[in-house]
């Protein structure tokens, strides 16, 4: 089993994440290079097995405590599986689940971890990962020693697997530790309905930390109103309570794909880019010419937003 590449299926509320199939595709490729197999661990939702294509085997484990995700139950189940199978590499999507379990598994299983990976290669018998650091301003090329490793992978790093046949499904017995847990699931909280649906807008005006203060938001709001566009934001703005959570674009907010995405004072942290990089036309205004937002934007300017915003409003 030493050459197995094990993918943890990422799912919540009965929905398998796209990232899972991206990881399966990569696992299959790496398994091909190392002469191993691509295996998926599916915890708590055996009925999702049919949606997983392209792997060699799907391992399902079912238990009342696995049905709704808690880090404790899933970590115990995953540790049990890796102890049994001793995979060469474990791939976990860098979602909330991956942020919990990657490092946890690294400590309890005693395996090196590379977090925020965006590229993975097999070099001889070694795994080489490239990962985002410093808010995506730099990448780190990292060699992982030893015979086991874990990578948490940023969503969208690999294309979804090319499909392929339905893998064989193997059901595993849950470990006894799942009957004695300190964490319990209470309830799922669905997102509140927003005043506007930013995912439906063709034109979005989006603001970030560079706006500086809540008072300055008014001027951008006026521009957005004049353009007939809703105002969206990156995380710091909604965390500060300056705009409702329903306006947040990014990994933990909403994914948007407008025809035009016009940003002011957004530097382009990886979490934000994940939510807007598929917009048809991205125009970014940021005073830092080295800001990562300019790597995904089609047009950019370093003109100060406090000069540009009123100029735009005047001209419409």
């Amino acid at each position: 089993m030493a050459n197995e590449i094990l993918v943890l299926a990422d799912h919540l509320g009965g929905q398998l994440s796209d990232a899972t199939l991206e990881l399966v595709g990569k696992a299959k490729e790496l398994a091909g290079a190392t002469g191993g197999q691509a295996v998926v661990a599916l915890l708590g939702a055996p009925d999702l097995a049919g949606q997983i294509t392209g792997a060699d085997t799907v391992l399902t484990m079912d238990h009342p405590s696995l049905a709704d995700y808690t880090p404790e139950a899933w970590e115990k189940a995953l540790l049990h599986i890796v102890n049994e199978r001793q995979p060469r590499l474990v791939l976990i999507a860098n979602t909330t689940i991956g942020m919990d379990l990657g490092a946890g598994l690294s400590a309890v299983w005693g395996a090196p971890l590379v977090a925020y990976a965006v590229r993975l290669e097999a070099e001889g018998g070694d795994i080489v990962a490239t990962a985002q650091v410093y808010g995506g301003k730099l990448l780190a090329e990292v060699a992982i020693s030893g015979d086991r490793a874990i990578c948490t992978v940023v969503a969208g790093s690999f294309p979804a697997g090319a499909g392929g046949g339905s893998p064989g499904v193997e059901s595993l017995a849950p470990p006894s530790g799942l009957d004695d847990l300190k964490t319990s699931f209470l309830t799922m909280v669905e997102p509140e309905g927003g005043d506007v649906d930013i995912t439906a807008a063709e034109l979005l005006v989006s603001v970030g930390r560079g706006i500086g203060s809540q008072d300055n938001l008014e001027e951008v709001q006026e521009l957005a109103d004049t353009l007939g566009a809703p105002l969206s934001a990156s995380r710091p703005i909604t965390d500060a309570g300056w705009l409702p959570k329903t306006r947040q674009v990014g990994k933990s907010g909403l994914k948007v794909k407008p025809k035009v995405y016009l940003t002011f004072g957004i530097s382009g942290a990886p979490e934000h880019l994940e939510g807007m990089r598929d917009a048809e036309l991205i125009i970014a205004c940021n005073t830092d010419a080295a800001a990562p937002i300019f790597d995904v934007a089609h047009y950019g300017t370093t003109v100060d937003l406090f000069d540009l915003v009123p100029a735009l409003t005047d001209k419409i």
Binding site: G13, D68, Y69, P71, T95, T96, M99, D100, L101, G102, A103, S106, A107, P112, V114, A115, Y116, Y134, G135, G136, K137, L139, A140, E141, V142, T152, L181, K182, T183, F185, L186, T187, M188, V189, P191, L203, L227, D239, T246, S252, G253, V260, L262, I283, A284, D288, A289, F294, V296, Y299, G300, T301, T302, V303, D304, D307, L308, P310, A311, I316
Partner: protein, 255 residues
């Protein structure tokens, strides 16, 4: 409730990051280091939990550059104790090392809850909270956006993509990775920070650098290859505004 908030200093990303001579780390000599933004959120949420139910907040640094200022700021905001764990060395200190040193220090303390930032911009070998929890054998929840204490248990909101969240109940002691506090981090006035500095009160604790390594070797750091770069619009704000409006109109979204 006795709450420990570990904090780390990370390079201020507003500044240009230059690499050291062998290209395996950022050149730290002239970098400005600031409190990791998620740790700032964890500090705020810890103070809210304390204010709601009583107890104490102990803030713990790792000897990072300029950590004293962040520790004094925490005291000015309402933390009860500040501890600085020293001896972990210079340069990049990985999360495994931090978690291990903190776990050792915590074993001699009475603690109910550890609240740390869910991530940091340089935690390449993994996030501190789950590593620490695994080393202590305590339960852990990350990406948390709200903590409420109740006797020996807490209820937390854990955030997922698309605005979804779940409510979990966790028996203490536990480790929580905070994504965002329920309110923006409070402001500590310069006067209050100065007062804290004058009062002193950071407890320096020398720790032994834990054995073992992360099993990962950084071969090189590099700037992402530009698969594309924005075409930059220059000129006066009026010129740039004209170009932008032309672009928006070309997509037919402006009536």
């Amino acid at each position: 409730m006795r709450i420990v908030v570990p904090i780390k200093q990370t390079p201020d990303l507003v500044e240009e990051l230059e690499l050291n001579d062998d290209g395996t780390d950022v050149d730290r000599e002239f970098l400005k280091f600031v409190l990791s933004e998620w740790d700032d959120q964890a500090m705020e949420e810890a103070l809210l939990v304390k204010e709601a139910g009583g107890g104490e907040v102990v803030v713990v640094g790792f000897g990072d550059p300029d950590v004293e200022l962040s520790l004094y700021t925490a005291l000015a905001k309402g933390a009860d104790r500040a501890v600085n764990l020293t001896g972990l060395g210079e340069g990049w200190i990985d999360s495994h090392t931090r978690a291990s040193a903190l776990a050792t220090w915590l074993s001699g303390q009475e603690v109910d809850l550890v609240m740390a930032g869910v991530q940091a911009v340089d935690d390449l070998d993994g996030q501190l909270p789950p590593l620490l929890a695994a080393m202590l054998g305590w339960p852990h929840v990350g990406v948390v956006i709200g903590v409420e204490g109740k006797d020996n248990t807490i209820q937390v909101s854990q955030e997922f993509g698309g605005g979804k969240a779940t409510r979990l109940e966790v028996k203490l002691p536990a480790v929580i990775g905070v994504q965002a506090a329920r309110q923006p981090p409070r402001y500590a006035s310069i006067t209050r920070i100065r007062q804290a500095q004058q009062a002193g009160g950071i407890e320096d604790v020398a720790v032994t650098k834990p054995d073992g390594d992360t099993g990962i070797t950084i071969r090189r750091l590099f700037e992402p290859e530009k698969t594309g770069h924005a075409e930059m619009l220059t000129g006066s704000p009026e010129d740039v505004a004209d170009r932008i409006l032309d672009l928006i109109r070309s997509k037919g979204v402006l009536k």
